[in-house]
Amino acid sequence: MSDFAVITENLRKVFSIRKGKGLIRAATDVVAVDDISLEIPCGQAIAFIGPNGAGKSTTIKMLTGILRPTAGGAKVLGLTPWTQRNKLTRQIGAVFGQRSQLWYHLPPRDTFELLARIYEIPRADYLSRKKMLIERFGIESFLDTQVRKLSLGQRMRAEIAASLLHHPKILFLDEPTIGLDVMARQELRDLISEWNQQEGITIFLTSHDAGDIESVARRVVVVNHGRVVLDDKVSSMRRQYLSSKVLSVKFHDQPATFVVAGVTILKASHHALKLEVDTTLVSIQTVMNEVLRAGDVADITIEDPPLEEVIAHIYSRAKT
């Protein structure tokens, strides 16, 4: 098998949609995915993001064999998904934040038992795998509690553990942290990230949550209008795609009036300023000099803008 978990070449999907009312309905072609080429090495954690209707789901459905592309090709774990779906299903796992695979009225243990049969996992293998997952995901305490009585955080931990029972080589995660509180969200991200790094499983994450992307993925692929508009490391995405920095300055005394071209005051209080610096118009050094001149500085921090802003910026660039 190649070193790539996923390879797509000029993947394209066109849907024919009938529009109109009654018997007179004209067929219109809608391009959902337009020429997507990707190479995802085994063991990589990738965030596959884009605005609603960008073509994420269609791409995932082609990669999992649910849909056949109109043109182009793809190999997932060396298999052609839409012709070898049966083989592929045993090697991939999927977690959909909004759709549970756990049986609502039964404890997670029962779903685990059923999945062992569905994936035809040999008994000894299943038992040792289950034991390991229970320990790693910390689900022992609620393994015999009906799913309907679990918190969303507990349920999602059980969901992910269930999706790993059959040793998938790729895990597709669709909005895995949706609806979770801050703590549960971080806990889940850590677990996924840990699993990716320690077990070498390939992670294919779709999420609108910037925190998920930062914590879990090393690489981000942004799609819009069916095309890849960015394919980069998460760490360098900010630097390349947003030419601004955020400066938070605390003064010992009230600073002098601060006016510098290319700097926007986001927030100002008696002893503090929060500034957004457009680095294409003014250098950070110039702004720092002006800040030091404005008053007696007690503390200063320079930050990148939040990832949400970067993503919004990429989406808006792709539109134009």
Partner: protein
């Protein structure tokens, strides 16, 4: 060694049955509903039998008629909402999730339904039999009745599943399947002989009604339980086998066409 592939479907049915035992609270409402229905029909049939000065109508005595009703009601009321579930899977796109498991979606639905229905039917029958035996006492149920009934009941459930599944798959083509679901369920109730045995329908209708799959779901099993006859068993079995073959083939064809219409919209 890997477990046999077929075992997975047995486990789906088992898990579904277990899951439905969680709904035991529902039994309470069913007791009341069945009690009311059976009481009303007890009174109606008592009047009918006395007004016609008959000890037997359509070949059934009053106690047999009430037991027939308890069985048909138990069959009908045990029917899971297959069409609605398939409709929801199609509409929400959740059907796609089933495609990424080493499973056949129609078989998954079938065994899920059978597991659920088994529990619901057993509870209904227990409640119905208790109420009817309080009203009219026991009828001469013997091992033959039970054996004949057990023989035809699984096929009845499979036929009903196929019909419902086809209605649910219609969601691929039409906006709303609720209307179809209503038509299907009412046809099963009326043409299947839920309230009145087929022998009491006009004579000219009876051959056609007995040919329809609805009779193989409701009338056949119930009639065999209250009045077991080898000839009727053979007749019901042949009809059931033919109905299963035709409907399963139809499910396979429609499902294959429907799968080609799976869209990826909406996640």
């Amino acid at each position: 060694m890997s477990l046999p592939a077929t075992q997975k479907y047995y486990w789906i049915a088992l898990t579904s049955a277990k899951s439905n035992l969680a709904y035991l609270g529902e039994v309470g409402s069913r007791v009341v509903f069945l009690g009311v229905i059976l009481y009303i029909f007890l009174r109606l049939w008592q009047v009918t039998y006395s007004e016609t000065h008959s000890t037997s109508l359509g070949g059934l005595t009053l106690p047999q008629m009430l037991w027939y009703l308890a069985l048909t009601e138990s069959i009908i009321l045990s029917g899971p909402r297959v069409a609605a579930a398939v409709d929801a899977d199609v509409r929400s796109g959740a059907i796609a999730i089933h495609f990424i498991r080493p499973l056949s979606y129609p078989l998954y639905c079938l065994f899920n339904t059978l597991g659920e229905r088994l529990v619901r039917f057993a509870l209904n029958l227990f409640v119905g039999a208790t109420i009817v035996s309080l009203f009219v006492g026991f009828i001469g149920v013997n091992m033959t009745s039970v054996a004949f009934f057990i023989c035809v009941l699984p096929l009845a459930f499979i036929i009903d599943f196929c019909g419902n599944f086809l209605v649910g798959l219609a969601a691929f083509w039409i906006e709303d399947t609720v209307g179809l679901q209503l038509i299907y369920s009412r046809m099963t109730m009326i043409l299947g002989g839920m309230l009145i045995p087929l022998e009491l329908f006009p004579v000219s209708w009876q051959p056609l009604l007995k040919l329809l799959p609805f009779a193989a779901v409701v009338y056949g099993p119930a009639r065999l339980f209250v009045a077991p006859q080898v000839a009727l068993l053979q007749d019901v079995l042949w009809h059931q086998i033919a109905a299963v073959i035709i409907l399963a083939a139809l499910v396979a064809v429609v499902y294959r066409i429907a799968c080609a219409r799976v869209f990826a919209n909406g996640g």
